[in-house]
Every structure is written in structure tokens, then in C-alpha cells.
């Protein structure tokens, strides 16, 4: 059956591959899971949201153009700037680079798709639905109005009684699912689905940037998600986490938000810097200088950016010594930034630079971002920050960084990769005019806005009088913003013209050296008819005819095996061939899963909690359905992959991508849990109205039950994957049953402990304890499901001594649950003893 002799006829090979990889037409498009299509959807949707955010920006500037303007009242203005910030940050910037990464990574790495195509699709739908909730709120005039960082207590129920704040919390949390999904998937893809031979030191820099960004997302988003959930719980059920009268603290929200919010800015910047490092060498016509320096800089930057969050809180009354830590860390990021900056300039200086259109936008980046970086250093200086914090100086700074550090590189990327997306080259270029309009308009708007802020204009005020001397500054800013808007309109027209009427582009029009240019243009769903092997950082220069050879099927996997969609997996570091990864075809199931997830979120939003519970259960059920009929019922062992080499299927190796997915998901989960525990400790040490009125004496029996259950589950899970046990179905199923029972016992124990918490609305201590227990209880409940699922898989014949992937994933979960469960018990037993005295 297996046709391993390379199909000599490229057309026939293409037809075979196309048949299994294609997305059906018509309504079938809704079933798309392919990275090229889903990536494109992310990008287009993000640009639509950019349009919405841009219109909101124009409303702001129209309102502020003249003093005492009666155009928008404060109620509307507050919604407009909140939504502008929210849309730009969450619905435009993040999804745009996620889409770009999805589209590009497999092609650059020499793979046929991302590691988890269905997860991409599910993430896309979550993004679309969550974003839609926010936009519907805006259209109905119910949009959030507390600013994009939603400070409590202003966003608490007392001061924002309407649904507005809930729309933000629910909509954004929904969208964050897609960010976490993307993070997991990007890491797994970069780790595993590279072309054989592409060791980490031969990886394109863009992949390094995305790898680090994805890790930052993995650790950066959970604090925000936890904060949002706590705030929503406070708003809906009155559990006080942020209410100072009952032992909560508004500063907890600020810490959780900025613990996310500052890394977020670098999460947006790094992919754009990745674009810089990819495009710049092409236009400098030489390899980038300082590859390893750049890798080191990105990692340093990622870590440092997690140590800066308090520079958004320099005015909340923190002691100088503590501020000094954050001030120092904030200035320290200048170093890795400068290394990259000078690596780029050095590359240009030692190369033969060409001023093509994308390069023009890159120069725009240099100009605008340099200035944003310099004002950033100023803001890191504590005393200066006290003056300009929350003024238009900060508004100017953040736009210099975000527009300079994200928009300009992304516009460059648009012009650079458009021929790849569409196979078309521009006929006439409006791009240069668009560039100058955007560039001049931008600087006109924001350069003098620094001065507006220094002259004392706070941000987020809907108007001003003519006494302060801000009129002409604001008028110039508004004029500039309209010039910029015309520039963006022209850019849009230019892109539409090129997409619809461009002439046929030739292959690799810029003379690039990365693998994405070895595909056809536009690329087929499977990218490569056969997969390359890589020997250097510039695979396109090594083998000139590589594109043709691959199309002829002369690389790896140049055939179709039993109608399966296959790509190769490698060892992380060395890039040695390790496994054959089987990927799923088009399916509607991600869409359906996202729909029931939407039922959950809308249920919470409208306070139909029964509906929400149904939505939640349905979501879990749907997610389990993803694996139905998926897997092998017999061991396959080594399979030929072409070039005379062999590799086992991913179900039979330890380093399968889905194994990684679970590990990474648990990292994110652990970060969320740590944020929760941090919250509890923080309140205890810092918040007013502590110690609490009552200290809990958690029941010993319930605690013992929980400990015993957790330990049994973790032990049983370990046994179930021991080689000797795995080999015998009844034994492994027995251990899985023990794991299920253990989790069930733990669940019972934790529920008993939860019921013993007296009225959690009384004090933050009780509320935090309750939520901590609920968090673990939920994990134990899911543990029962996972263990049961393992039994089902085993019964259905998908498990053997070699095919233990399902059980190993489950075992990770059980071990993790035991860990967080024990920590929770330590905290609720130990804290009152340590702190109570």
C-alpha cells in the first residue's frame, strides 16, 4: 500500500497531496484547519479590527481637536478611548502577529503545517467570537469605559454597575484562549516540526523571536486571566478581592494587570523585531551580523520585561528602594534593544543596502522606534515619571513604541510577503506615497504630544478649556492624525489593487534565503511536495534548485502514505529526524467547540449560569471528541520517510508534539495558580483590614481525604505508564481506574473544605481560600475525566506498550493536580499559623 518510491511525476504527486490537504469549497471553508488559511484569516481579521480601532482613534482626535468640543460627551468618550486601546492591543496587535507566525513558521521551518492545526482553527474562532462580543457592546453603546487597564475599584460593581465592564472581562478572556492556544502551538511547532538538519543554531531568526514571544505569552497571559476571573467573580458574586473595606486591595489588580501588561508590550514588539531581522539582511544583501548576540538579546529582553511591571505604578506610594529595582530593570532593557539596533545598523553598514519599498518602512521603524525607546528610558526614571505619568507624554511615548515598533515593521512585512500570499507583484505602487503620509502624519500627531503632556494635559480627559495653552498643540495633533489616516487608506487601496490586479510575481522576488520562498506562490496547502533537509542558515543559497527538487518530490515524504497527512518531527536541539507526525484534515469540530465555548462565555456574561455550566461541560466533551477515531490501533514501528531514512510515528515516541502541548499548558496553568497564590499572600501582607475576622480551621478529615486521593491518583498514573503495566490492558486500565477514584476522593475532600468556608463574601481571606480550593477541585474533577478517557482509549485499542502517548499526557495532569493540591492544603493550613500570630 505504501508508495515510498518517490513519485517521479510532480503533477501526480501534487494531485495526490492536494486531494488530502485541501479545504473543501463553499461552506466547507468553515472546516479549514490549514495554517495558510487560518493564518490568513487571523491577519485579515486583525486588519479589520485595526480599521475599527483607527476609526475610534479618529473620533478621539476629532473630539480633542478644539477646546470645549461638544462632539462626544464624557460617557461616549470614555467608551471610545477604552475600546481604542483594547481593540488595538488585544484584537489587532497580538492576533496579527499570531496570524503571521502561523502562516510563515511551517514554511520557514520546512514543514507542512503547524503542529496542531485544529487548535489554530479553534483559536481563530475564539478570537473572532470574543472580539465580536466587544464590538457588539460598542455598537449597543455598552462598551467598557474604564480604560484599557480597567483599574479597580472603578471597574468594580459599585462604580460600574452596568454590563460594560463584564463585556471587557468576558470578551478579553475569551480572546486570551486563542493567545494561549497560539503560544502552545508556536512553541511545539518550533520545537518539533522543523526540517531535518535544522538544529537550533540554523533556525531562522524569526523562529527564535517567535519562540521567545510564545514563551512570554505562556507566562504573561495567565496573570491577566486570573485577574479578570477574580474581578468577574467579585462583580458577579461579591467575593471581595479588590474591595479594601473587606480585606481586598485595588493594588492587587494593578500588579496582576501589569505583570501581564508590561510583557505584553514586548510580546508585541518582539515579532516585529523578528520581521526586522528577517527583512533587513535581504535588503542589505548580506547575512545578519551577530546571530548569537541577537538570540541572547531576545532571551534577555524577554526575562527583563517581566521585571518592569511596577514602572506603571511609580505613583502608588511604593518605597524608593523598591522603585529603584524597577527603575534599574527598566533601563536595563535598553541594552538588549541597543544590541539588536546596532546589529541591524551594522548589517546595513557592512552590506550593500537597497532602498526598496519594504526597506523604506524599516527605516520608518528606525526613526520612530528610536525615539520611543529614548522616551521609554526617560519614563523609567522615577522622578520624571511622577510628572508625566498619566499625561499625554505617555500617550505619545506608547504610540512611538507601538506604531514604530509594530506598525512600521508590519507594513514592511505586508509589502514583503504579499507576493508570497498572492503570487502577485504590484503594478503601480502607491506604497511610497502611503509611507510618507503615514510617517509625516504620525510624527505630526505624536511628536508635539510629548509637549502637550509636559504642559500638563492628563490623558483620558474628553475636553479642555483654552486657559492651559494646549489648543494649538491638540489641533496640530488632530490634523496629523488625519494625514496619517489618509496614508493608511492609501495603503489599503494599494494592497487591494495588488491582490486583485497585480501581475504575476516571479519566485523569490527579493532574493531571500529563507525556506518560505521555496514554496510555490501562492503556496499549496501542504507547502512542500517533499520536505527539505537543511544544512545551514541560508538553505536557499546552498542548493539553488531546491524549490524544484522539492516540488519533484526529491526530499523527504515525497509521497502519500495511506491517505494520511504527514510531516516530520525532529529532536529539539540537534534537529535530527525523530518522528513522523500525522496531522488532521479539515474538520468542523474546532468551530463547534468554539461555539459551545461561546455559549459558556455568553452564559457568564448574561448571568445565565445554568447555560454557562452546560457550555463548559459541552466544551470539555467536544475537546475530548477531537481524538475520536484518531490514533493507531496497531504498532507501526519505523516507517520509511524517503532518502532511505526511517522514523516512528509520533504516537510511539516520547517527544510527541502533543506531549509538549500538555507540558506547556501546565506551565501556563501553573503560572495562573502561582498568580492566585501570590494574590493571597499579597493581600495578607499589604491589604488593609487584615487579619481577617475569622481564621479557618480546615477540617482534618477532609484534608486527609484530599491528600490520600491526590497521592493515590498520582501514584496510579505513574504506574499506568510503567512499561510492564502498559503492556497489559487489564492492568493499565485498573491503574487508571485507581487514578480516577483517587481524583474523585480528592474532589470530595476539596468540596468538603470549600463547604466549610463560612460566607466567602465577608472577607478577602475567605474569598481567596474558597477560590484556591475551587481551583484545585476543578482540576481533580477534570482528573476523573482524563483517567476515564484513558480507559476509553485503552478499550478502543489505541494504547499499547509502544503507543502510550494518551496515558503519558494524562499522567502529567494527575501529577500536576497532586502538586497544586498539596500546595493549596499547605497554604490554607499553614498561613493562618504563620501569619495569624
Amino acid at each position: 500500500m505504501t508508495d515510498t518510491t518517490a513519485a517521479t511525476d510532480p503533477i501526480r504527486l501534487h494531485k495526490q497531496l492536494h486531494r488530502i490537504w485541501r479545504t473543501p469549497p463553499g461552506f466547507g471553508r468553515l472546516s479549514a484547519v490549514n495554517h495558510t488559511i487560518v493564518g490568513r484569516r487571523f491577519i485579515i481579521t486583525a486588519f479589520v479590527f485595526f480599521g475599527i480601532g483607527g476609526i475610534l482613534a479618529m473620533l478621539i482626535r476629532a473630539q480633542l481637536a478644539t477646546p470645549r468640543s461638544a462632539f462626544l460627551g464624557p460617557e461616549i468618550y470614555n467608551q471610545v478611548f477604552t475600546m481604542h486601546g483594547t481593540v488595538m492591543m488585544f484584537l489587532f496587535a497580538i492576533p496579527l502577529f499570531e496570524g503571521l507566525a502561523m502562516y510563515l513558521l511551517p514554511k520557514m521551518l520546512g514543514a507542512r503545517d503547524m503542529a496542531f492545526p485544529r487548535l489554530s482553527a479553534y483559536g481563530y474562532w475564539c478570537y473572532l467570537f470574543g472580539g465580536s462580543i466587544l464590538i457588539i457592546g460598542l455598537v449597543l453603546g455598552l462598551a467598557p469605559d474604564g480604560g484599557w487597564f480597567m483599574y479597580t475599584p472603578l471597574s468594580s460593581r459599585t462604580y460600574t454597575p452596568g454590563i460594560n465592564a463584564d463585556i471587557w472581562l468576558i470578551g478579553i478572556t475569551f480572546v486570551e484562549i486563542s493567545a494561549l492556544a497560539a503560544a502552545i502551538e508556536i512553541i511545539a511547532t518550533i520545537f518539533k516540526t522543523r526540517a531535518p538538519g535544522m538544529s537550533l543554531d540554523k533556525m531562522p531568526l524569526f523562529a527564535w523571536y517567535m519562540l521567545v514571544t510564545a514563551f512570554m505569552m505562556l507566562f504573561g497571559f495567565p496573570p491577566l486571566i486570573v485577574g479578570s476571573i477574580l474581578l468577574e467573580i467579585e462583580r458577579a458574586f461579591d467575593l471581595p478581592f479588590f474591595d479594601p473595606a473587606r480585606g481586598g486591595d485595588p493594588l492587587l489588580w494593578q500588579h496582576l494587570f501589569w505583570l501581564f501588561g508590561h510583557p505584553e508590550v514586548y510580546i508585541i514588539f518582539l515579532p516585529a523585531a523578528g520581521v526586522m531581522s528577517t527583512l533587513l539582511p535581504v535588503f542589505a544583501r548580506r547575512e545578519i551580523i551577530g546571530y548569537i548576540w541577537i538570540v541572547v538579546s531576545i532571551v534577555a529582553m524577554a526575562f527583563l520585561s517581566f521585571g518592569l511591571w511596577v514602572h506603571h505604578m511609580f505613583t502608588v506610594g511604593i518605597p524608593h528602594l523598591a522603585l529603584a529595582f524597577f527603575s534599574a530593570a527598566s533601563t536595563a532593557v535598553a541594552f538588549p534593544t541597543a544590541v539588536q539596533f546596532f546589529a541591524w545598523i551594522g548589517t546595513l553598514a557592512t552590506g550593500r543596502p537597497q532602498l526598496k519599498l519594504p526597506m523604506l518602512f524599516l527605516l520608518g521603524f528606525f526613526f520612530v522606534f528610536a525615539m520611543g525607546g529614548l522616551t521609554g528610558v526617560m519614563l523609567a526614571i522615577v522622578p520624571f515619571n511622577w510628572q508625566v505619568h498619566d499625561t499625554h507624554f505617555v500617550v505619545a511615548h506608547l504610540h512611538y513604541v507601538l506604531v514604530g515598533g509594530f506598525i512600521f515593521p508590519m507594513l514592511a512585512a505586508a509589502y514583503y510577503w504579499l507576493p508570497h500570499f498572492t503570487g502577485r507583484a504590484p503594478r503601480l505602487s502607491l506604497g511610497i506615497t502611503a509611507f510618507w503620509l503615514i510617517f509625516i502624519g504620525f510624527n505630526l500627531t505624536f511628536l508635539i504630544m510629548h509637549l502637550t503632556g509636559l504642559l500638563g494635559m492628563p490623558r483620558r480627559i474628553y475636553t479642555y478649556d483654552d486657559a492651559a495653552g494646549w489648543e494649538w498643540l491638540n489641533l496640530v495633533s488632530s490634523i496629523g492624525s488625519f494625514v496619517m489616516a489618509i496614508g493608511f487608506a492609501l495603503f489599503t487601496v494599494d494592497i487591494v489593487l495588488q491582490v486583485t490586479m497585480g501581475k504575476r510575481a516571479r519566485r523569490n522576488p527579493w532574493g531571500a534565503k529563507t525556506l518560505e520562498w521555496a514554496t510555490a506562490m501562492p503556496p499549496p496547502a501542504y507547502n512542500f511536495a517533499s520536505l527539505p533537509s537543511v544544512t545551514s542558515r541560508t538553505p536557499l543559497t546552498d542548493a539553488r534548485g531546491i524549490a524544484v527538487d522539492l516540488a519533484r518530490g526529491q526530499g523527504y515524504l515525497g509521497f502519500v502514505r495511506e491517505g494520511r497527512l504527514e510531516t516530520l518531527g525532529v529532536e529539539i536541539t540537534s534537529g535530527r529526524l525523530e518522528q513522523v507526525i500525522r496531522l488532521p484534515n479539515s474538520t468542523h469540530i474546532p468551530l463547534y467547540t468554539a461555539l459551545v465555548t461561546a455559549v459558556f462565555f455568553v452564559g457568564v456574561l448574561l448571568k445565565f449560569y445554568l447555560v454557562a455550566v452546560i457550555g463548559f461541560v459541552a466544551t470539555i466533551a467536544m475537546l475530548l471528541m477531537w481524538t475520536r477515531g484518531w490514533g493507531d490501533r496497531a504498532d507501526r514501528g519505523l516507517m520509511p520517510v524517503g532518502q532511505g531514512e526511517e522514523a516512528p510515528p509520533h504516537t510511539e515516541v516520547t517527544g510527541a508534539p502533543s506531549n509538549w502541548a500538555m507540558t506547556l499548558a501546565l506551565f501556563a496553568n501553573g503560572t495562573a495558580y502561582a498568580s492566585l497564590a501570590f494574590g493571597m499572600l499579597f493581600l495578607w501582607v499589604v491589604a488593609p483590614n487584615w487579619p481577617p475576622p475569622v481564621l479557618l480551621d480546615p477540617g482534618l478529615l477532609a484534608s486527609a481525604l484530599a491528600v490520600a486521593g491526590l497521592a493515590a491518583a498520582a501514584f496510579a498514573a505513574m504506574r499506568s505508564v510503567a512499561p510492564a503495566v502498559l503492556a497489559k490492558a487489564p492492568q493499565r486500565e485498573l491503574w487508571l481506574a485507581v487514578a480516577a477514584a483517587g481524583n474523585g476522593a480528592a474532589l470530595a475532600g476539596f468540596i468538603m473544605l470549600m463547604m466549610a468556608v463560612p460566607d466567602p463574601t465577608r472577607h478577602a481571606y475567605l474569598a481567596a481560600t474558597f477560590v484556591l480550593l475551587a481551583y484545585v477541585a476543578l482540576h481533580a474533577a477534570l482528573g476523573v475525566v482524563f483517567a476515564g478517557y484513558g480507559i476509553v482509549r485503552s478499550r478502543a485499542g489505541y494504547v499499547s506498550a509502544m503507543r502510550s502517548l494518551d496515558l503519558r499526557i494524562g499522567a502529567q495532569w494527575h501529577r500536576y493536580t497532586a502538586g497544586i493540591g498539596l500546595i493549596a492544603l499547605l497554604l490554607i493550613h499553614g498561613l493562618p499559623r504563620v501569619m495569624g500570630s
Binding site: V377, M378, P383
Partner: protein, 218 residues
């Protein structure tokens, strides 16, 4: 309202910091842009320079030379802007609420008196403000005199400021606090020493413990 038209030592020290940083930043910016321009005007100009020159020189040495003195200077300057905790300094309790400012003082007789939306201080004398909020977060800011500090429910934050000369200084709430955020403006009136006690004497007595907010922690 300008932070650059200073009328007190704190604002003046920060304005100096700003001018220093502005000059430094401008020079750096022009240098980098000039370098970039050169690269295009004279292609290949850097071909002789080894890569490490760019990375070590531009990426490490350059920021180190600029940032080390800046950071040390800023920490030193910041240190002097913190409240001294000197018991001789006059104290005013400030409570912000949607959307007004309440100030409680002790008059010459030691009795608490209060005013709303106008803060009276004595020119030439430092005053320590103990600031909190009765509802949401606000921020106390008189741009010509000093940096801002937030008013946070459940916490007391401290700001020390001084007006060099008598006069009226505009203050504004700098942290977004709801619909009437903009209207939450106030006046800071600095009086000459000889008038000050009379002004305080004319203020109404403070209504018993003003803060219904919970026990504050600094």
C-alpha cells in the same frame, strides 16, 4: 499647568532632569539617524568595521556610558524628593472622592479645620500631604509644584511639596476616575506667612473623622 514653568523645588528638580535627558536623547537620536543616513549615502562604509565593533560598542558600551550616570543621578535626585518624615513639617490630610478633594488641617489652636477643592498652604514652607481616597483611585497633581501621587482607597500615600512664592496653582486629578474625571480639578493657594494663620482660622471645623475609608496602610 506646565511642568516646565516650575514654582517649587520638587518640580524644578524634575524639570532639570527633563532638560538634561532631552539634550542627551536628542544627541543620541541624531547620532543614530546620522549613522543610518551615512549607511545609505555611502554604501559599504562600514565594510571595514568588524561585527563586534557594532555589537560591543553600540550595543553594550554606548548604553552603559549613558545609562549608568543617568540612573545614579536619578536615584540621588529621587531620594531628595521623598517625604522626610520630619515632625516639624506641617501635615494636611487629603481625601479624594468622586469628584472632589477634601483637605483637613490643624489651625493655630490645634483644632481640625477643613476645606474643599482648595488647598491652603504657606508659601516657602514644605507641607506633607497624607492622601487617601474614599471610593475609586484618584491622583493628586499640581504640575507646577511636584510630581503626582495616587489616592488609593485603603492606603495612605504621602507627598511632600513646597511653593516658593505665594500664588494660585492649578491642580487636577490625574488618574481616570469616571465620568467627571475632568471636573475633579482643584486649586492650591499658597499664602504669605503673615496671612496663613488667618486663612486657616477662617476655615470651618472638620466634620469628625473624615475618612470612612478603612484603616489605611502606607
Amino acid at each position: 499647568m506646565s511642568t516646565l514653568d516650575t514654582a517649587g523645588p520638587a518640580a524644578a528638580s524634575i524639570a532639570t532632569l527633563w532638560w538634561v535627558m532631552l539634550i542627551g536623547a536628542t544627541l543620541i537620536f541624531l547620532f543614530v539617524m546620522a549613522l543610518l543616513a551615512l549607511v545609505f549615502i555611502r554604501p559599504g562604509i562600514g565594510r571595514g568595521t568588524p561585527a563586534s565593533w557594532w555589537l560591543v560598542g553600540g550595543g553594550l558600551a554606548f548604553p552603559a556610558v549613558v545609562l549608568t550616570p543617568l540612573l545614579i543621578y536619578a536615584l540621588w535626585a529621587g531620594e531628595r524628593l521623598f517625604p522626610t518624615g520630619d515632625p516639624a513639617v506641617a501635615q494636611v490630610d487629603v481625601v479624594a472622592r468622586q469628584w472632589e478633594w477634601n483637605f483637613t488641617y490643624r489651625n493655630a489652636a490645634g483644632a481640625p479645620v477643613q476645606s474643599s477643592n482648595t488647598l491652603h498652604i504657606q508659601a516657602g514652607q514644605p507641607v506633607q500631604l497624607n492622601i487617601t481616597s474614599a471610593d475609586v483611585i484618584h491622583s493628586f497633581w499640581v504640575p507646577r509644584l511636584a510630581g503626582k501621587i495616587d489616592a488609593i482607597p485603603g492606603h495612605v500615600t504621602v507627598l511632600q511639596l513646597k511653593a516658593d512664592a505665594p500664588g494660585l496653582y492649578r491642580g487636577i486629578c490625574a488618574e481616570f476616575c469616571g465620568t467627571a474625571h475632568l471636573e475633579m480639578q482643584f486649586a492650591l493657594q499658597a499664602h504669605a506667612a503673615e496671612d496663613f494663620n488667618a486663612v486657616l482660622g477662617g476655615l470651618p471645623p472638620a466634620a469628625a473623622p473624615d475618612v470612612n475609608a478603612p484603616r489605611g496602610r502606607p
